[in-house]
Amino acid sequence: MFHHFYQAHFLIKRGGLVTKGRVSIVAERCKSCGFCIEFCPSHVLAFSSAFNAKGYHVPHVVHPEKCSGCDLCGMYCPDFAIYGKKNADGGKK
């Protein structure tokens, strides 16, 4: 199964930002319940206008610089489609 990993990390690399954490989304598993978007403490996510193969709108990262890598999105996601990770350097550089 093809997993599309969409990572804030790449945006950060392009933008030259260093953050505390990053979030990864497996778009093909998402069923668009919206839990991660609603309960993200730093409001990193929003619904994308794109559909995945099953026709659900997948969340995408709108504020990668705010992600703390707390993994609350990963705990809420009923479809195991999203998770947060703390960056190894903890956002310090």
Binding site: Y6, K54, F80
Partner: protein
């Protein structure tokens, strides 16, 4: 900085990664049979969230997965046994606790988890539930309570609150419902907690605490069923339900369980209600036999653990 997935999908350099491999794996992935994903649970169903909390509790409590067995019954929650990459068994309807009791008696070193729904545990398996609590068999019972029989089409369950509309009570339920924490406390459970799918961190901690307890531990998780319960009762979708859990749940640790009954749109009392010590079934059995048989008592042979 903000982008849209539409443009990101076209932008191939986003897919090239230089991250270490283990960073590209969801922390719950090692606990799942990924070949069976995506699962059959509806969009917004809370069961997946409880599985997340369970997996994180396993990571945090560092339990040896070789010593863990998961048993589930029939129903939406019963599918958990098929989705976790642990030693698991999907039993017949209501018989998760008897099967788990057998596992525990045959191999007392096993950590046996019963993961099932309210209809399976409290209706057809209701007698097994109260008698396992009475005997204080060392089981960890996780009861995902979505207030309805979900898999069979939304019939009234023993936990359906008053006046809720179901497929078998289209003009409203009139039967009084079970208050599960009160039931299992009265029957003799040593650990009773209730959380909702909104309280993910607390739920993961409660599951970890239950692994530390010796005896019958019962954790009730209130979970949305957007397809049958919420839709039929015009309670919105599962996100509305999660917001309702957030707004209307009150943490009352140690609250008397007789006062934690559920209503259709009222307050949900959550927390750790009971945490007490009682000798468990196997230590009581041993004490009784040592007492009555004296020198003739022979320690049972230990089961070989296959790894």
């Amino acid at each position: 900085m903000s982008t849209d997935l539409n443009t990101d999908l076209l932008n191939n350099d986003l897919l090239n990664t230089d991250l270490p491999d283990d960073d590209l794996v969801n922390p719950v992935e090692p606990f799942l049979r990924t070949d069976r994903m995506p699962h059959i649970w509806c969009p917004g169903c809370g069961i997946g969230t409880t599985v997340n909390c369970f997996a994180r509790a396993l990571i945090e409590s560092k339990i040896d997965l070789q010593s863990l067995a998961l048993v589930s019954g029939i129903g939406c929650t019963g599918r958990v046994a098929g989705y976790v990459a642990l030693d698991s068994f999907h039993t017949t309807h209501g018989r998760a606790i008897p099967f788990a009791t057998g596992l525990k008696l045959a191999n007392p070193k096993l950590n046996v988890v019963v993961y099932s729904g309210d209809g399976d545990l409290s209706a057809i398996g209701g007698n097994h539930l109260i008698h396992a609590a009475r005997r204080n068999i060392d089981l960890k019972v996780i009861c995902v309570n979505n207030l309805i029989y979900a898999m069979t089409g939304g019939q009234t369950a023993p936990t359906t609150p008053d006046h809720a509309t179901t497929s078998t009570n289209p003009y409203g339920t009139f039967e009084p419902s079970f208050n599960l924490p009160h039931l299992v406390e009265a029957a003799g459970a040593v650990y009773v907690a209730r959380w909702t799918t909104f309280h993910v961190r607390q739920l993961a901690r409660a599951i970890g605490e239950a692994f530390q307890k010796k005896g019958f531990s019962f954790i009730e998780v209130i979970s949305p069923c957007p397809t049958l319960y919420q839709r039929r009762n015009k309670l919105g979708d599962s996100l509305d339900t999660m917001k309702y859990y957030k707004a209307k749940s009150k943490v009352k640790n140690g609250a008397p369980t007789s006062e934690v009954g559920l209503t259709i749109s009222g307050e949900i009392i959550v927390g750790k209600f009971v945490d007490r010590e009682r000798p468990d079934y196997q230590s009581m059995m041993r004490a009784q036999y040592v007492d009555s048989l004296g020198d003739r008592f022979v320690e049972p042979m230990e089961a070989e653990v296959c790894s």
